[in-house]
Assembly symmetry: C2
Homo-oligomer: 216 residues x 2
Amino acid sequence: MRMAQLSDESGVSVASIKFYLREGLLAPGEKTGATQSSYDDSHVSRLRLIRALIEAGGLTLQTARTVLAAIDDSEMPINDVLGQAQKALPELPTEPSAASLDRIRSLMRTQGWRTWHTNPGIPQAAGVLDAYDRIGRDDMIAVLEPFAAAADLIAEADLDLVAASRDRAQMAETVVVGTVLGDRLLAALRRIAQESVSHTRYSEHPLHDEGTEPHA
Amino acid sequence: MRMAQLSDESGVSVASIKFYLREGLLAPGEKTGATQSSYDDSHVSRLRLIRALIEAGGLTLQTARTVLAAIDDSEMPINDVLGQAQKALPELPTEPSAASLDRIRSLMRTQGWRTWHTNPGIPQAAGVLDAYDRIGRDDMIAVLEPFAAAADLIAEADLDLVAASRDRAQMAETVVVGTVLGDRLLAALRRIAQESVSHTRYSEHPLHDEGTEPHA
């Protein structure tokens, strides 16, 4: 197909397709003339994946490039693909403190969690504890253990999905998409559950006075 | 204290303090001369909170302004503060489909979750299902139920922390900081748990061949 049709099929504008081609996120089509190329279904799928990662997943172009390269590298062990996808986390403003890193390591021992020192979640989690501490709210670390129990349920579901993938290519896609979009899905479900729990606990005092009905 | 000392105490640069004053995120100090003002501990605390929300929590200036205003409005019911903090979610690229919204509502019934129609998590979660669907991976909705069970644990911990707050001002801060930084903490713990679960499941095939030892 021509580029115009590729744009229609994928829902990605021609300008963006040209940009992704230039940036190397999308493989070139087959040359059919001096200024024309032909594209196929693999280009449509790839554009949809790029769109999912960048638009729905909120990845930067740079991070999208890294995780797409991990998907494409069929020699890369699946756990290294997971390692790449895991790095799709916001940058920390400062190095985490030793005290917070110790607190996370102690949590890991309690949970029976074993990872390599390089796991990007360790400094990220410690950075959040530092932020609680800096605003004088170290009482907020009370959420650590219940959040860790929840993270266990989540990780089991994540790995179940990876195990159910039909081949290496799909497994890599599952790891990347599951990690990136999963964060967003979880944040969304957390908001629904928060309101529901709040409603259950404080039902004698209605939470809202709009005329709308709560969802049953 | 003068602005230079406020900067030292809070760890926020003078240029940023001036910016937050101009933008109305920080209340003006007490005028002590034509070009000088005096600041107190409340300014230090406020700057630390702004920093936590923007730097560690990744909020935009606009969202930070909204949630700070919710904290400041002592007349605002705590559940409305929660509603404001809940909106701190990335923007959706497109409207979610009716099919995905139905899927989330069905999940809510299964979970016994009751919320108002306006809960921002509902379209967000549906948007992620749409993204799975657009890349031909509707099999990935298999994570919905385990993620929802995890969201329940998380929301109970969130509301426990709110209930333990000593007064309305601290409660509002807990709601805002807990919601915003909690997303990041959870994403971090999920990455640690993912690697640990992967290690446990595939321990016959070592995940990495670096010389580092896994954390015990």
